[in-house]
Structures are given as C-alpha cells and as structure tokens.
Symmetry: C2
Subunit: 580 residues, 2 copies
Amino acid sequence: MRWLQQFDKALEEGDSSAAANLFAEDSYWRDLVTFTWTIKTMEGRDQVAAMLESVLGGVKPSSWQLIESATEEGGIISAWIEFETATARGLSLLRLRNGLCWTFLTAIKELKGHEEWIGRRRPRGAPVGISAGPNWSARRDQELAEIGIETDPYVLIVGGGQGGLALAARLKQLDVPTLIVDKFARSGDQWRSRYESLCLHDPVWYDHLPYMPFPENWPVYTPKDKIAEWLEIYEKVMELDCWHSTTCTHASYDQQAGRWTVEVSRNGEERKVFCKHLVLATGASGFPNLPAIEGMDRFQGQLWHSSQHPGGDAWRGQKVVVIGANNSAHDICSDLAVNGADVTMVQRSSTLVARSSTLMEFALKPLYSEDALDAGITTERADLIVASLPYRLFAELQKPLYAKIREHDAEFYERLRAAGFMLDFGEDGSGLMLKYLRRGGGYYIDVGASDMIADGRIKLKSNVSVREMTENAVILSDGTELPADLVVCATGYSSMGDWAAQLISKEVADKIGPCWGLGSDTTNDPGPWEGELRNMWKPTAQEGLWFHGGNLHYSRHYSLYLALQLKARMEKIPTPVYSA
Amino acid sequence: MRWLQQFDKALEEGDSSAAANLFAEDSYWRDLVTFTWTIKTMEGRDQVAAMLESVLGGVKPSSWQLIESATEEGGIISAWIEFETATARGLSLLRLRNGLCWTFLTAIKELKGHEEWIGRRRPRGAPVGISAGPNWSARRDQELAEIGIETDPYVLIVGGGQGGLALAARLKQLDVPTLIVDKFARSGDQWRSRYESLCLHDPVWYDHLPYMPFPENWPVYTPKDKIAEWLEIYEKVMELDCWHSTTCTHASYDQQAGRWTVEVSRNGEERKVFCKHLVLATGASGFPNLPAIEGMDRFQGQLWHSSQHPGGDAWRGQKVVVIGANNSAHDICSDLAVNGADVTMVQRSSTLVARSSTLMEFALKPLYSEDALDAGITTERADLIVASLPYRLFAELQKPLYAKIREHDAEFYERLRAAGFMLDFGEDGSGLMLKYLRRGGGYYIDVGASDMIADGRIKLKSNVSVREMTENAVILSDGTELPADLVVCATGYSSMGDWAAQLISKEVADKIGPCWGLGSDTTNDPGPWEGELRNMWKPTAQEGLWFHGGNLHYSRHYSLYLALQLKARMEKIPTPVYSA
C-alpha cells in the first residue's frame, strides 16, 4: 500500500512534516498509548505535525504492515495495520480519502517483553518435573493472604465492579501486583442489591469481559443476578486479589516517596495499604444524587434513591411517585405498575428514548451480534472500530442513524408525545451514545416502559419539577399535588470526580477537574472541547491517580490501555506523556 | 464431488447396493446416531450394504453437501460434508482412496425443530415487554426446588463429575428435565479430595467442556483444585439441577410404566425419584479396587487406596510402599519422595510410559493445541477427526506414532529399563490411547516421576507381586520384605458395569455385560470384537439405562450423542436401533 510505504519512510527518516502531509487538512489521528503515552486525538494536519515533531525521536515507529487486504467503500479505503514502536506492538485502523489519511487509529496491543500469559504463553499448571512445596491452590491462597499485609500492591483499585475486575484481570496477566478493595461482601453484590426486574440494556455481544467471554448459551440481555454471579466467578477464575467488605476511607500521596497511603476499613478493622498507583473504579453510579426537596423531612411515607429501590412487589395498590425520566426511572415505574402500584413519573426535562430492539438492529448489529461474528468482526475488532471514530466526527456520524431510528419508530414516538412525554435526540440530534459520552445519562433504552406511558399504565407529569413535599404528597411546580406512599428519586449519580474530593482532598479534585464528558459545551458537559473523555484511563494532573469506569464495553476495552500504562511504569519503561 | 453425487443419487433412489458399491471392500462406516440410532461401525462393504438395506427407508438421508473444498494427501482425499435425515442434521467426514470410500463418519449434529438454545437462538434474558412475576433468578430457584419433588425429571444422572455435568448441560439446551444426584457436597469435590500434587495429565485444548471453553489464560495442565472450581462454576452457569450430598441406593425399572424408581439418600433423608431414563455417569474411577492381601488386617501401619491418599507432606522420613505402577502410583510416589518419604513402588506387570511433553508434541499437537487452532482445527472439528478413525484402524494408525515416540525418547526409556522398570507399548505396540480404550489403564503419562525412578529417588521392586503383609511390612512374591509405615494401593478401579450390579441388580448387570473396552481380546479386554466401546453412550440391553463416562474429551464429545438420543425419545421421534 503506497500510503503506508510513504508514511513508513517519512517516519523512518524522522521527517514529521512529510508524514503529516499524508494527512488531510481535516483529518483525525486518535492515539491510544502508542505515540503519546496517553489517550489523545490530534485534530487536523497541524496537530498531527506538532505531535510527530515532539515525540517521533523517542517512539521509533517501525514495521508497518497490512494485516489483511485493504477494502474500499464509498470512496473510503480502510486498512488494518500492525506496527511497532521502540517499546510496544500496536494495531492501527486507517481510513484514506482521496489518497490522504482521513482517520487514523493507533492503539497499543502489548509491551515488548511483557506479553500476557495467554494462548501460547499460558501457564503450564503442573510443575516441570516434580518438586515439593505448596500446590497451585496453596500458592494462590498465600498470595491473597499476603497482599496488602506482607507485600505492597503496586496498584490499588477502589471498587470491585466490572471495571475494577476487568482492570485487575489485565494487570494479573501483566504480573502487576494489584489489590481491589470493594465495599460489598461479594463481587456482584452491587448488581444483586438492585430492583428485581433489572436486566442489562446492552446485548451480550457488547458486554464480554477480557479473556473469558460469556458462553454461547448466555442470554442476550443478562438478568442482574446472572451478571452478579458472573462477576463473582470472574474474580475466582482470574484469581484476582480482592478485599471484600472493605471501604476506602482516605488516600494521600507522598510526593517524596512517590506512593499512596490508602486507609481502609476491612470488615471493620482499620488498615493502611501502600501502593504506587491508585485507580478509582468506583463507577459513574457510585454516588447517588439525592435532591434536597423542601419539606422532605416532614414526608411520612417512604423516600429513597433509585439505587436503594428493591422492586415493586411490596407496593400493590399504593401510590408511588418516581422523580426522573431516565433508565432507572422507567425500569422502576414499569416494575411498580405491573405489580399493581399506582405510579406517576415526574419528568422535568426531555429524555432521549430509543427502543432496545431498534438500537440492536441499527446501531449494534453491524458490530456486536451473531451477524458481526459471522462476518469476522470479533469483539476485539469491533472495539477497535468503535475506537477509531474520533469523537469530533462521532456526533456527525450518529445523526443519520438517529434520523433513521426516528423514521423507523415514528408511530411509537408519536404515541409517547401524545401522552405528554418530552422527547429529544440529543441537542444536535446525535443520539444516545453521545449523550452517554457527554453526560453519562439523559436517556432510556426502551424495553417496554414507553408503551406503558403511552397507554397510561404509568401516569406521567411532564415539563414540571418538584416544588416541595408535604406529609403525604409531592407538590409539583405547576401546583399539582401527587399523593404518595413512596417517592423514588431516580435522579442519577454525581461525577466520578467527586470520589477524588471525598477520598483524597478538594485540592486534588480541583486540580484534576471533571471526569468523563468530552467538553462538548452541551448540557452537563461544559467546554472547552477535549476530544476525549476527560481524565479517563490516562494520566491525570495528580501523579499516580487514575480513573476507570463506564459500561461493560468501556470497562473491557479501555482497561487494556490503563493496564499497559501501569505496567510500563512498573517496568520503568519511559512513558513521556505528550500534551499539546 | 462425483463420489458424493453418486452416493446421494443411490440413497435417493433407495438403491442400497449401488450406495454400498461406492465403498471399498475394506472400508469403514462409523455412524454416530444418524443412520443406526446407535453408535456403530460397519466394517467392510457387506456390513455397509446390510445396514443400508435395513434402515434406508426410514432414515431418508438427503442434502449431502461439501462444507468446504476437499483436500488430498498421500492419495487420500478428505472431505467435510453436511447432510440431513428425516429427523436430524448431521456432519460427515469422508476419506476416499482410489475413488472409493475408505472411511466414512456420519455424526448427528442436531434434531430438526429441537436445536440448542445457543448463538442466534440464545434466550433473550429480559422479558419482551414488561410483566410482573418472578425474575430469572427466582424462576431458576423454583425449578431447582421443584425437580424430583413436584416434577419428575425425564432423565436422572447418577454422578456429578465432568461426565454428568457435561451431559446435563447438553440436556438443558434441549429442554430435557434432568436431575443429577451426586454424593459430594459440591461439584468438583471428587477432584478436591485427591492428593495435593494432582494435575490433569491432558492439556487444556483437549479438556474443554461443552458451550463454555476454558479462558485463554487457563493453564495447560489444570491443577486439581482449579478443575474442581471450574466444575462448580459450570454447574452454576449452565443452571444444572443437581442434588448434592445425595447417594443413589437403588434403582428398579417398571417395564409396564416404562419408568425407573430411583431411591436416593439426600442429606440423610430417603427419597424416591421417578424418571424415564437413568444414566450412570459414576465414572471409570468410581469403584476403588482394594485387593485382598493375606495378613492385611494385622498390619499396624496405615493402608488405603490411592483415591483416599491426601498427599505426601505428612510422611517425611517414613517408609511407604505403593502397590501399582500406573498414573496414580507414579504421582503418589513422586509426591511422597519430594516430601522426604522413603518410598518403594511395587510393579507387578509392565506399564506403558509416555512423556507428557512428547505426547503433546507427537500425538496431540496436530489436533489439540494453539497450532491446531491457528490451522482452523477447533475443538469440535478435532473431536470429529478423532471420531472418524474406526477403532479397527486406530491401532494400526497409532503404531508408527509409538515407534516414533520410542525413538525420540530412547535414552529416557533406556534409563527406566536400567532401573528395572518393566515397559510396554501395548501388546501390539499401539500405545496409550488403545490401552485407554481397551482397558482404561495400564499406563503413566510422565510428568517427572520416571526420572525419579531412573535415578533411584523412587525405589522400585518390579516383576513381583504382593504375597502378604505383616504387622509392619509388605512381603513380596520374591521374599523381599519391605518395612512400611504406610501402604498405598494404587490398584485402580473396577468396571462401570459394577455400578449396574450394585444399584440395580446382578441380573440387569449380566444382561448388559461389560462396559468400556472394544473386545480386542487383549489383557482386560476379552473378545468378541465389538468395534465400539461397549455399552457407552448408546442403547443397552436394559431399556432406559445408559452409561456415560471417560476423560474430559469423551465426556464432552459423546455427551452430545447421548443427549440427542434421550431428547429424541422424549419427543417420541422414532429411533429404530439398528443391530446387525
């Protein structure tokens, strides 16, 4: 491939401007920890040139090779490429338009000399020859007994949900001593504690964890207890070191020593653990937002946050008000309604609704489905395809999809609107994924509750907010009084950054700034434009502090890049972080 | 492909002799439950003709199609084929020599209209729309609580080892109500209870269970506690209905009602369970053979069977005699020796020894390895390739392999012989797999103990048997007195058929005859020639009684054929069993 030869030659000759000239003016180079040692999108030829000028000498890229023949569609040529740097092997997805690069993804795959213990490199299991001493299981028990007590972990992960577990599994494969501290008694308990009817809203093909895919008879939309059990199994099979029933109470960084002192309460016992790196994997859903409502302390009924709501079967014949109109609010309303409660949803502002089946058909099927698998698009490849779309373009690329979805489900949306439901498709019509990336919410993936709103089984008050509460009712901003035996605040969660303030200090939290969000200057995602999720899986302004989170897809895919950054630091591989 | 067209045409026209004429005189057609509704090898053109003459009208084979291009090697053309019968879909592996069929495998894949709930047919998980009622986990709990109490299982499996679990998983995918009764408190306890150093002697690629392969970081030779944990996980993830801590005490068949009454003791409570089919999956290793040795009751030391031996670390500095020279004897001796015991192995007759690494390189690598996977040979395909080799040919095909192994490890074998160890390679030089198939033992897969015998760390007395025991010693047939603090009888297990005698009756056991073995007329495998493993995974002389067992490979692969036979009976699909 001519482009690749020219690019390779320019890089080899250290000629940044020749290399940059192979990119279109309006091109995008997204780098995942190969050239930049961070996660960064260079937007436009000038940024590409500047980055290359700065890093090329150290990176020493080479061995660019097509993995398979390039393909062409609609004037765009796509090519899968492998390459190396001085310290790593990487994968690349290149898109050419008119002979110039339009989009370019470079993603680290592994560090040379530190490959994972999988496939041909899997452990032997039985010892070579015969030796005395503890067997596999005894050695495993010993490791778990010693870490955090006799031995310091290199990485401490706060939070043992899917994010923490996936990252710990990757670090295990890289021989990075890692301890998870998790407040629950068992992995998966976060899921177990939720309302009974909860199922994942994303399909199985999108949800695999690293190394150990779900079996082929796994349901499409995993019920909550089944995902909980899988996480518990995953911890065991991956042999992760996890302290359960353990709360992290405080962490402080010793700049001199370059290490964290993490204070935890383990089964009620106060302990200190020392580590080089601290990962907050407490999740976007760790910090419930419970609004302060005037008069809420005089309310005589039950009131709780959606995260505390156990299910609807105890509320038959009773009056329930659910404040909020996103995923949890819908799930909780429908569960209450089918269980015979008299339930009213209070919608303050518009919500993006997309039917699960339509999303599957139009958005996910090309990448995450049996069809995709048949077409050779494995989960790993699908993840890279998603990652190859720069966030600036992503909104534009999603708009036609949502135009199609609106047309396909026009009658459905009409019925919802007729019931008074306030709909949107994102401020710029770019749909659900962008809402997820910009603000982590503002949508409902419909699995049936919308029909119940349309036909009145779930009552709706929209375009109103909650003014106050009385002994037995919720008073809305339009003066409506909603009598209530139970009020559920499905009012979401606060930012991951709040964890830094709570666990470390306000100073550190301020230094880091917000987590998640792209800087799109839309609701709940203030500018300036970042072009990447803020502070996620990449170096932050606080040395040794990292953030990890997101749905199963993000936990799976980006845990790789975070794990390799940590491993490189442990091995003292130079990791000069490029910042424009 | 011309041969296939002619074959298809002959079958379509019901012309058995035209079809049989496409087979060489010395050809083999191995059928797994498609034409014969049993597991049977037709040897030679006449047997092929007779079978077709008998069954062709009912089977209605059709739609023979190459799955991929045929390949040629050394004058043999091989082709993968799919086909249908009136009731099923099948896979076939054909080998042609000089234009005629040399070997032909026909294997059932699925019953039409009763396909498994996997891949595109996997369950949805979340309900379509919203409905009240129990969630996934509550429904699962209810099913488990009711089976055997409120509802009769269609199949009852005695034994929850890898065999019982794999079969139950397959039956679950076919909606066949199935109850496992297992004497242990947890799945995997059979493995947990064994000596500490035990690891699987077969590599990971050979050992996968159905639907849920081991993850890619799983060790090559699985340590016993890890396989135990995996079985426990497998039971949960596959949602199998299993009564633990339950012993089957008696089973009787009511010919009139066509059902079994199975008496069990569940946590000490006596219960009766009714089922249509009873599967004995108690394993080849269920019934320890403890020899009656003169004077053994006056022996003052410890004496136990290898299955009861916990590991060597308690026997430092003590004298141990291990009776036997097969796998367990070697493992136990080496474990004792490295733990500082003074251990002597007593070898009565010759043993086949093959080094694990050499077996991997020469025997398994082409089919079960990362290399095989890279070459497109999945586990499923490898299983069919193994199954396509008729047992009559198998011995011949294995001989050159063992000639190669003997040459490759000549120096190793020389050292063993020099230490007095009696070696064989099977009576006809056909090696380990044939010993396994003929008699289920008589070999050691070396992972290091042979070196310890060669260099004297494990003492050896060979070509002797045990004459008697005194208070503190074992007296051998040559008069040698071996002082002993512990005697371990690594004397193997008795036949699976013994379970039928114990659980049902001697009459039924006699009617059925021996289980396992080919009828090769070699040691422990009396004739007449059967050409298949006796009574395994196929109809027996006792209606509703089935045997299932073998290593992880056999448990995985043949559970499919047994499950489909049971499903066909449940659905009242005609299953006329062909017997020559």
